[in-house]
Symmetry: C2
Subunit: 528 residues, 2 copies
């Protein structure tokens, strides 16, 4: 047990109160990596909650420049340690070092932290609202310690100690208790070390960042419902997420979840006629990139039966069969994908390309393309929208547009939905009919573009109706909007001027903070 890794609690790297331990396989070799990680007992959670509660008292009162200094320094440290971080993440996830980890995900992660730092300093995310006539003023303020459960598919950019939820929670003034994803504990540990170094260098409260790796379901549920917690952000499996949601909901604790999504893509006939070959490449690339392990992976493609769609389907099947097979993140992902594809096939989907688990290096599964008629889909839509997380997708062939719409109507909430249409207008009438049905099912609607890229834009919505996420008004990506999840609306009614927070005083605290003053957005001072 000498290799047992420490947890970070209350500013100390220390031995966990461990109920048990676990190891991680290298998914490319299926061999266990040497490090042992503790499965924390409740004592670890309890100690972290106490420390986070105390850290919050300090952190929430600090000027945002202090928080920004931390985020910026942490970003620098991530960039400076890119090689080491990518090596660890590669060993734990099988994701390629280049371009994926080093050239895409790591820069995105440090840039996210810098964007969050800028948002903290600008303070516009607080949506300060001032009614001078009534002398009532309100803004969004930090809400308390945030527990972040990171997923396994973006060890940096969505990681519990480094990703978008972490950046948003810290930038809005809250300490984070990071729960590593148990498939990338070493990556999360390496990041948390850098985060804690930055905490120390910039003199934030020690418990601004805390880390543990694993716990049982009961302790997880207890954690997200604890009075000392402000909110929870969770990205991961639907089953575990719903356990946490039930516990948090019961105690009135906000919890933001990203659970599952099949991301329907509708390809209208004109688009297939105009650029069918290009669409084969575009869809295959989007679906198989990173072995399809994206929350926005296009898992459901709808076409209308005709010669062009038949060609699209058969050409795509050929591409799937010919494409290299990627490594999956974990044995559990391999098993989950295998089971999900089996479920779809047993329900009646036809396998156009595919095979078995183990078709590539390490944990893997043959690239799989399934097909089903819309009429069949509609006999059991819940089963046919089973998420097959990984390099598989289901094509639904409809007889006409009304069948496409019926399938869309049968879907649960999704993160994204796309429509491809031609550029000459022949698909426009179909688009107009289809759009209202698809629009209400998805958080982000795309045209002529696959959903797998999630830009960090102020206008991004990485969210959507349940069960894609837990609440349809919030986004997990996109700064400053993502910060609001970790905030509470605070109103000051007739509070004396000197006692108001800086953002609500007459003088604009930065000269650059957007505030809604008597119905007008302005960066100016309140006229006295």
């Amino acid at each position: 047990m000498s290799d047992l890794q420490p947890v970070l609690i209350a500013g100390q790297w220390k031995a966990a109160a461990a109920a048990d331990t676990f190891q991680v396989d290298n998914p490319a070799t299926k061999q266990p990596l040497p490090a042992q990680y503790p499965i924390s007992a409740w004592q670890d959670c309890d100690a972290a909650l106490d420390a986070a509660d105390e850290a919050f008292q300090t952190l929430s009162q600090l000027p945002p420049e202090r928080i920004a200094a931390f985020l910026t320094r942490y970003a620098e440290l991530i960039d400076a340690n890119a090689d080491e971080l990518c090596a660890i993440a590669n060993a734990e996830s099988g994701l390629p070092v280049s371009p994926r980890l080093k050239d895409v995900e790591l820069p995105r992660t440090s840039n996210q932290l810098r964007t969050a730092a800028a948002a903290a300093v600008e303070r516009s995310w607080k949506q300060a609202t001032i009614d001078t006539k009534s002398n009532i003023r309100a803004y969004f303020a930090p809400l308390g310690p945030v527990c972040v459960f990171g997923p396994n598919n973006f060890p940096f950019a969505f990681g519990g100690a480094s990703g978008g939820d972490f950046a948003a929670a810290i930038a809005s003034g809250n300490p984070v208790i990071a729960k590593a994803n148990p498939s990338c504990p070493g990556t999360t540990l390496a990041l948390a070390k850098l985060a804690f170094q930055a905490v120390q260098e910039t003199d934030l409260p020690p418990a601004t960042i805390q880390l543990f790796y694993h716990c049982n379901y009961d302790d997880g549920a207890k954690l997200v419902a604890d009075p000392r917690i402000g909110a929870t952000a969770y990205t991961g499996s639907r089953r575990a997420g719903l356990v946490l949601k039930e516990a948090a909901d019961k105690h009135g604790k906000p919890i933001y979840l990203e659970l599952s999504s099949v991301n329907p893509v509708v390809i209208l006939p004109g688009a297939l006629k105009e650029r069918g070959d290009k669409l084969v490449d575009e869809f295959t690339g989007s679906c198989l990139m990173g072995a399809g392990q994206f929350c926005t992976n296009p898992g459901l493609v709808l076409v209308i039966d005709n010669a062009e769609s038949q060609a699209f389907v058969s050409d795509t099947a050929a591409k799937f069969a010919a494409a290299p097979v990627g490594t999956l993140l974990t044995k559990a992902v391999e098993t989950g994908l295998t089971v999900a594809l089996q479920t779809l096939k047993e329900a009646g989907a036809e396998e156009l390309a595919g095979g078995a688990a183990g078709a590539g290096t390490g944990y893997s599964h043959a690239n799989t393309l399934l097909k089903v008629d819309a009429a069949k889909f509609l006999t059991d839509p819940l089963v046919f929208q089973t998420e097959a997380f990984g390099n598989g997708s289901l094509i639904v062939v409809a007889q006409d547009l009304s069948e496409v719409i019926a399938v869309i109507d049968s879907l649960e909430g999704n993160l994204t939905g796309c429509v491809y249409s031609d550029t000459q207008g022949s698909d426009d009438a179909a688009y107009a009919q289809l759009e209202p049905h698809l629009r209400v099912k998805v958080g982000r609607l795309l045209n002529d573009k696959m959903p797998t890229g999630v830009a960090v834009s102020p206008a991004m919505n990485h969210g959507g109706p349940f069960p894609a996420t837990g609440h349809p008004a919030f986004t997990a990506v996109g700064i400053p909007a993502s910060l609001i999840r970790f905030a509470v609306l605070q109103c000051f009614d007739n509070v004396r001027a000197a006692r108001l927070p800086a953002e609500l005083q007459d003088k604009n605290p930065t000269g650059k903070t957007w505030r809604l003053v008597d119905g007008t957005w302005t960066t100016g001072d309140v006229a006295s």
Copy 2:
């Protein structure tokens, strides 16, 4: 059964699918009013859901001017029928016609509808966000039919078919299924008739407003969890609210609840020394107004023991004893108040003024002032913060500021919290120590002002941490902020210009709509 009142479903006033019927007592006479109301069976809810779903398809696509025309016409009809509405509400609630119903609540109600109409037309509530570089655009869009459960204490201003939730849901483009509070069904019926008249005159979809009066808990839970529902707004008892919350949460349906609040008021020593007599009047007035039946009624007053606070307590007790006793809304309120006060007394609170139920006209209870030491309070804080809804309040006497803070720390979430301090600065140090503790417990912090007035200001927060409400980032009062509760974030990624909603096209749709374009709030067009 000839007097059985109809429900309004799918544009028809019709006989309910009634499982049972109920009547309402006039609380001032304790005599039943003649009308009979149905307790709807599930068929009514089901039919209303179908009709609402259909109405939503139309309503969500209409120009906001059409919705505003409805809200404005409805406001006119309310004003024009003020006498009749007030007579019905008075008979059902015991609230005085003047000034309360006719001069305060009714004008507030029609003004709220007009403010909501203006917000709908301005469209700034949608928070349109445009990222021109990525061509990603997002805004808040209506989320679907809203079920509004109104409370009994504001039959107009918070009523299911007329109040703030109704106005916000409609203004944001959603049809409303109004569930009357079973203590004011006739008032809600009279209002729904006017609303439906306005719907017809302004040619909105008939099911824009629907009405039923009562159902059992199971059907209520089924309703808020139904796939056809967008969200629910509930103001009422904690017990029933938590039943609905559990059902809605389980199905991922947003529910906004206002449940309970004791609204702590801290009166610091300097303020008592400076203006103790004035504070006796101010507190007594706020606490006994409307027989104390406000969600923001000051139910918990904290003072530090000294000669001035002793005088404050005894003078207040004398005022309570001498003040007229108001009529309570219902027998259930009378019983609830009696039981809550008994709970507090049994736990150890001393009765300084009080008596029994029936001390006034009709349903009533003697004005009651209780007192307890902070040390005693802290032995069982959950019991001592039992909400005594009505004309009763608990004074907590602390030995020093640290005891005041300990009591504040022991509180659940509240809608409001107030601090009174002197104008010369002698209380400033205490205020600074106390404020962070109180701030995190309440949605609205007041200085030198009782919490019972809830202005319809864009900066108002009528919300707060659980269990005051269900989510601390949302407010039930304050336009446009209250509209966001009934909205979903929708992102458009690379969507062709002509297919964008008006609010996200380059041209500002009104020339007055605030939009966040590339980080700048503007009412201008996007430069092309």
